[in-house]
Subunit: 356 residues, 2 copies
């Protein structure tokens, strides 16, 4: 990888434990029993430690939806045909998809990035054209992309996150679109963790039993043919990943390098988060996991990055739908930190004062 990018990845600064302690001290001074807001306190503490202890705010939120096609879709591993990838990209741009409705409700800006959709959009307002190629090669027949393409895609994501942070975006979210991308994600996660493909593979957008068995065999075959190196995340990404997965991995690394909290959507974003985490585990300090999806591989990801999901609404849609919901909960938690009265200001008797 380009040495500038390597330097950025290697220089991600950890979040200071002292700042985390100070943030919790502030939370404990507020008019509520200590710890009684549970995970909201955990979110607020980390956000404050990253962004500043003195009245942190969440002003501008943006979710980036990375889209790409997958050659392996030709094997019939998805419930939907490959043409749905560009159709959904256009749906995002027209504001009709679930991510648009949720992002609008939660006042989050949506950015749609074409990382490698197999369609010529021409000049399409609102679409960021970062196409590396018109989809990956079929990973069950050979590597999905070259190492150089994987690097390029990661760098695109890094630059996008860093540019957003340099503007006025306080917090970033990840999202994905790509028919057959749970197949690539399972392959990535299996390659990096050496877990059984069978245990990791789920029904994606809703495949039947026969297709599920086929999907498992396809991923197993992809790993046998390509032999991705578990110790080389870029090799895994190139051989069995996807352009949107690479873009998201770079986006997470770029966010962390710019000290910007990044909220991770479902299992596709999770596979990307695992790639980023293997490149530098310090990214986890800036990552906020959102929901637990219905995909079985997801639980492995939480174990790997040592975080728990914030909620489980039995969702399995992607697009960033889980991320935007979590960003709003995080925003609420940050307001708790910055806007609540203290025991002293409100004249409320504190536990410790009255009962020792």
């Amino acid at each position: 990888m380009n040495s500038d990018f390597e330097k950025i990845i290697n220089n991600i600064a950890p979040v200071s434990p002292e700042s985390l302690r100070q943030a919790q001290n502030h939370l404990d001074s507020l008019t509520k029993p200590p710890g009684s807001l549970g995970r909201l306190e955990e979110l607020a503490r980390r956000y404050a430690a990253i962004k500043g202890l003195d009245s942190p705010q969440v002003r501008n939120k943006a979710v980036y939806v990375f889209a790409a096609d997958h050659g392996v879709a030709q094997q019939g591993v998805s419930a939907f045909p490959a043409e749905v990838t560009p159709q959904m990209v256009l749906n995002f741009l027209n504001g009709g998809a679930a991510i648009n409705v949720l992002a609008n409700h939660f006042e989050t800006h949506v950015v749609v990035v074409d990382m490698g959709v197999n369609y010529d959009f021409g000049e399409t307002p609102g679409l960021l054209n970062k196409k590396i190629a018109k989809g990956t090669g079929d990973l069950s027949l050979g590597p999905g992309m070259t190492r150089s393409q994987a690097e390029q895609a990661v760098q695109v994501g890094m630059v996008l996150a860093r540019e957003a942070a340099e503007r006025d975006v306080d917090i970033l979210g990840t999202g994905d679109m790509g028919i057959a991308n749970t197949t690539a994600s399972v392959a990535v996660i299996a390659a990096l963790t050496q877990r059984s493909v069978k245990d990791l593979t789920g029904r994606g957008t809703g495949i039947d039993d026969t297709t599920l068995q086929k999907k498992i065999k396809i991923v197993e075959k992809a790993l046998q043919i390509n032999r991705p190196d578990a110790n080389d995340p870029l090799d895994v990404l190139a051989k069995v990943g996807g352009f949107e997965i690479a873009g998201i991995a770079g986006f997470i690394l770029g966010s962390a390098s710019a000290r910007t909290p990044v909220v991770i959507d479902g299992v596709i974003s999770g596979a990307a988060a695992l790639i980023a985490h293997r490149m530098n585990p310090t990214v986890a300090d800036y990552m906020f996991m959102s929901h637990r999806s219905q995909e079985p591989a997801h639980d492995v990801l939480f174990e790997q990055v040592k975080q728990e999901a914030l909620f489980d609404f039995e969702m399995r849609l992607g697009e960033g739908t889980g991320a935007v919901m979590a960003m709003n909960i995080l925003e609420a938690a940050v307001k708790i930190y910055s806007e609540m009265a203290t025991f002293e200001n409100a004249g409320v008797s504190n536990k410790s004062n009255d009962r020792g």
Copy 2:
């Protein structure tokens, strides 16, 4: 109970299964794999079935925080002194509490109701004075209130919910404030379910092991002395409940009678929901459970009303904090229902069209 109120309670109309089916049909026409928004679809489906299948909306949201004192606080069952109840009521009115910050973020109106706080607030702008008495009697020594007071408190809650629904409030939330009210809630739940007090009792705002043991003994003593009748919810409410619990129970009944969805906060609101549910199980059609709190009695409540919690943020604060978060998630779900594009409108290939 006054026969008008009895009539209202007995005439709650169930939500039509046919409307639920039609609502799900609409959700399945939207540009997402069927069922892929999981619990959001469940929320939207029920809200639409209650409020109207054609483009339902959540415009005005209000959370009612019912406050009251408990004589049993004198036994030292809470981590905080009883004076905190009126102090927190004033904090609510000044906008400094967690419920204010969250409700403000989620654009929800907060109404504070004095059901029985042991303090003379005089003319306090913003406070609804519905005081039945200055706190209950100590339930470990005898009944907390008379049956007539319990009826009166339930009726206050019913009238408040029905008045809100008659104005323009689309959805209501419940909240509570009252030092020692987890003690009363555990007593109510144990009395109605015959479960072991030991298994139901938790640490409330954060008591130590010694206080926890004392709290268990106090509740056991209260049940022995008062012998509340498990088949008579009003008897249970009068003997071991609280004025805020009674108010919330009435509020839930009133909401359901006015066909208005009502979002239930934590374990205190849950105890009230159980009372309402025992008076007429059809209330459950209008109840939306919010979070799973840290109180062990909470899981029993979900079993009893046959609903699952929407999320678990390890919260244990009350005030309606869980309810306002869930109301916002419900609002997002309703927007999914009313604002997303259909496969047909967006020109997206549907699974069933393309793959049979």
